[in-house]
C-alpha cells in the first residue's frame, strides 16, 4: 500500500476488490456467513478501546450525557490524528466477562446515544472530524431503556449525524447490530473490516422471527447477507478493510494500523470538499439506499 494516502487511493481500492473476488470463492461455501458471525463476535478481537490505544496515544476520554448518566457501552473522546484533533466515538463490548458486564456487552442505553450526540456536536463546534467505531449486538432491550426513550435516542442520534457539518467516517469493526449500530453509522464514509458483520437484526432474532426457531441462526446469517463483501455489493458500505492473515484477533496492532491508514485517507478525501457539498453528498448517499422493482412491474 502506498505510504502517502490519497495518492493512488483508487488503485488501492482496486487491489482490495481483486482480493475480495478471491475471498468470495472461499466465502460462498456452506456456513461461511455463520463463520464470519463467530469471528466478528470473538472476545479476543480488537475492540474500540484497542484501536484507540494503538492509534491515538493522546486520547482524552470524555464521559456522560449531561442528563442522566454515563454509558460504559459507548466510549468517546478527542485525540490528535494526522495533524489535527478528531473526535472518536465507539461501542465497547469488553474482553472478559467482568468488562463485558460493566460495558453491558456493548449494548448502549439512551444515555449512551445522548453521549454520542453530545460529542458529535462538540466536534462540530470545534471543527473536528468524527470517527465512529461500530461494534454492538444492538441497542439494549431493557425496560428502563425503553422508558428512557431508547427509540428517540437512536433517531435523534441519526438526525445529529445527518446534519453534522464536519467530516464523518464510520468503521464497523466487529458486530453491526441493527438500529443500535446504525445510530453511529450515518457517515460520509462507512468502512467495514473483512470479518465484521452488519445487519438488520442478529441472525438469532431473525431466525426466531422468520423460522420461528432460534436454532436456524446459521441459515438466517446466510440469508441476511451480512458479510462485508455482501454489503459492499449492495452499495451500503464504501470499503472493505482486509484483516491480517488468520483474522484481526491475531494481530491487534497491525489491524489498528490498517484501519488508521484507511480512515486517514478517507478523512483527507472528505475534507477536500466544502461542508455544503459534503452534506449534499451525504444526503444523496442515504437517500439512494434501497432497491425497488423496475417501474411497471407487477409481482
Amino acid at each position: 500500500m502506498p505510504s502517502l494516502p490519497g495518492v493512488g487511493y483508487s488503485e488501492e481500492i482496486n487491489k482490495i476488490e481483486i482480493q475480495l473476488e478471491s475471498l468470495k470463492g472461499r466465502k460462498d461455501s456452506a456456513g461461511a456467513a455463520w463463520k464470519t458471525v463467530q469471528l466478528a463476535r470473538r472476545q479476543d478481537r480488537p475492540l474500540a478501546l484497542d484501536y484507540i490505544k494503538h492509534t491515538f496515544p493522546d486520547f482524552a476520554e470524555l464521559h456522560g450525557d449531561r442528563l442522566r448518566g454515563d454509558d460504559p457501552a459507548i466510549v468517546g473522546g478527542m485525540a490528535t490524528f494526522d495533524g489535527r484533533t478528531i473526535m472518536i466515538v465507539g461501542q465497547q463490548k469488553g474482553h472478559d466477562l467482568k468488562e463485558r458486564q460493566f460495558r453491558n456487552f456493548g449494548m448502549p442505553r439512551p444515555e449512551g446515544y445522548r453521549k454520542a450526540q453530545r460529542l458529535a456536536l462538540l466536534a462540530q463546534k470545534f471543527q473536528m472530524p468524527v470517527v465512529t467505531l461500530v461494534d454492538t449486538p444492538g441497542a439494549f432491550p431493557g425496560a428502563e431503556a425503553e422508558e428512557g426513550g431508547q427509540a428517540g435516542a437512536i433517531s435523534r442520534t441519526l438526525r445529529v449525524f445527518a446534519r453534522l457539518s464536519v467530516p464523518t467516517v464510520a468503521v464497523v469493526i466487529g458486530e453491526g447490530g441493527s438500529g443500535g449500530a446504525l445510530a453511529l453509522a450515518l457517515c460520509d464514509r462507512v468502512y467495514m473490516l473483512e470479518n465484521a458483520i452488519y445487519s438488520v437484526s442478529t441472525p438469532e432474532a431473525c431466525s426466531a422471527i422468520l423460522w420461528r426457531d432460534a436454532g436456524q441462526a446459521s441459515q438466517a446469517a446466510e440469508a441476511l447477507r451480512l458479510t462485508a463483501v455482501d454489503l459492499y455489493r449492495l452499495g451500503v458500505i464504501d470499503l472493505v478493510i482486509p484483516e491480517p492473515r488468520m483474522g484481526a484477533h491475531k494481530h491487534h496492532r497491525a489491524t489498528a494500523k490498517v484501519v488508521a491508514r484507511q480512515v486517514e485517507a478517507g478523512l483527507r478525501e472528505i475534507e477536500a470538499v466544502s461542508p455544503e457539498e459534503r452534506l449534499r453528498a451525504r444526503r444523496r448517499k442515504f437517500l439512494a439506499m434501497g432497491m425497488l422493482a423496475p417501474a411497471d412491474t407487477k409481482l
Partner: protein, 332 residues
C-alpha cells in the same frame, strides 16, 4: 426490530365483513360486549363500551382523516423487489404477492397529498396488515417522495404509523431506510415545515427509532404499544415480567416520550388544530400586553423605591394565587 412479531393482534382485529356473517354477533376482544359491524363502523372502529381502539387499515385511516375527494396519491407506482433473493420457510416474493392480494395495497405505506380539515397536508399512513407494516425499500422511498411532495407544495407532513419495525427480508437495505427517512426529514426541517406523527398500535423497532420519533409533535392513539424492542425480547433479556400497560401510549406519555394521547374520534380535529398553531407562528404583529402602571421608566426613583414596587408586585400576585387556590379547594 429484533422482536419476534411483537404483538399478536390477530385476536383483536375487527371482524371483517366478508368473512364474518352478520348473524354471528362479534364481540369486543377487550370487554366482550357484543358489537355489530355497523356499530363499530359508526364508532370509527372503537368499541363503544370500553373504548378499545381496533386497528384501522390504511384505506380506512385515509377515509377518516382526509377530506372527501381531496386525496391524490404519491409514489403509488413504486413496487417492492427482492434484493437479497430471500427465502425462509417461504420465498419473500410469495409473501409480497400474498400481502398485496390480501390488502389490495402495493406496500405497507400509503402516501398522498390531501386536505385535512380544510388544510392541505402530505399524509402517509401505514398498514399493519401488510407484512406487519414493516419498512422496506418501498416504504422508505414512498416516505421520501412524500416529504419531497410536502416541500414542493409547502405543506406540513402528517404520518400515521403502525409497524413491527424493519422488513427483515430486505436485510441491511431495510435498516438503511431508517437513515433514509431521517435524511428526508432533515430536508423538511430545512424548509421549516411541520411534521406530526400519529403512533398507532403497534409502532415498534426501526420505524419508532427513525422518523416516527422525529416529529415536531407526537400523538398516539390510546393503548398503542410503542417500544423499540418487543416485550418478549425485553422479558427474555431482563428475565422479569413486565407490568401491565408497559410500553403503551399512556405509559409513554408519563415518561415524557410523546405529547398527547388522542382518542380516535378527536384525532382529525386535534391534528388540524395543532397544524394551525404550528403554522401560525410566522405572523406576530400583536403587541405583548404590559401593565402600564408597572413599567418603571429608566432612572426614575431610587433603588429602594424600585425594590418596594417589586415587593408589592410579588405580594399582590402571590395573594391572587392564594385566593384562587382557596376558591378551588372550597367550592362553597
Amino acid at each position: 426490530m429484533n422482536q419476534p412479531v411483537t404483538v399478536q393482534i390477530t385476536s383483536k382485529e375487527p371482524p371483517v365483513s366478508e368473512a364474518m356473517p352478520e348473524s354471528l354477533e362479534p364481540r369486543c376482544s377487550e370487554c366482550h360486549a357484543s358489537l355489530t359491524r355497523e356499530q363499530l363502523k359508526a364508532a370509527l372502529e372503537v368499541c363503544p363500551h370500553c373504548g378499545h381502539h381496533f386497528p384501522l387499515n390504511a384505506v380506512e385511516r385515509v377515509a377518516q382523516l382526509a377530506d372527501p375527494g381531496t386525496w391524490r396519491e404519491v409514489g403509488g407506482d413504486l413496487q417492492p423487489s427482492d434484493p437479497l433473493d430471500f427465502y425462509d420457510s417461504r420465498a419473500y416474493v410469495d409473501r409480497l404477492a400474498e400481502a398485496q392480494l390480501e390488502t389490495g395495497l402495493s406496500e405497507a405505506m400509503l402516501a398522498g397529498v390531501c386536505r385535512l380539515g380544510g388544510r392541505r397536508v402530505a399524509l402517509g399512513v401505514m398498514d399493519f396488515r401488510f407484512l406487519g407494516g414493516s419498512m422496506g425499500s418501498v416504504v422508505g422511498e414512498r416516505f421520501s417522495q412524500l416529504v419531497a411532495a410536502a416541500i414542493d407544495e409547502a405543506v406540513p407532513l402528517v404520518v400515521v404509523t403502525a409497524s413491527g419495525g424493519a422488513r427483515m427480508q430486505e436485510g441491511i437495505l431495510s435498516l438503511m431506510q431508517m437513515a433514509k427517512t431521517v435524511v428526508a426529514l432533515d430536508m423538511l426541517a430545512d424548509h421549516s415545515l411541520p411534521f406530526i406523527s400519529v403512533l398507532t398500535h403497534p409502532t415498534t423497532g426501526g420505524v419508532l427509532a427513525s422518523f416516527a420519533t422525529l416529529a415536531d409533535v407526537m400523538l398516539a392513539e390510546p393503548g398503542a404499544l410503542l417500544l423499540f424492542a418487543g416485550p418478549r425480547v425485553i422479558e427474555q433479556t431482563t428475565r422479569e415480567k413486565l407490568p401491565p400497560g408497559f410500553g403503551r401510549s399512556e405509559s409513554s406519555l408519563v415518561h415524557g416520550q410523546i405529547d398527547l394521547v388522542v382518542q380516535r374520534r378527536d384525532l382529525k380535529r386535534q391534528i388540524a388544530q395543532l397544524l394551525a398553531l404550528l403554522e401560525g407562528g410566522v405572523r406576530c404583529d400583536i403587541e405583548p400586553i404590559r401593565p402600564d402602571s408597572e413599567v418603571v421608566p429608566r432612572g426614575s426613583g431610587s433603588l429602594a423605591q424600585a425594590v418596594a414596587r417589586a415587593k408589592k408586585l410579588a405580594l399582590t400576585s402571590r395573594g391572587w394565587l392564594f385566593g384562587r387556590d382557596q376558591q378551588d379547594r372550597d367550592p362553597t
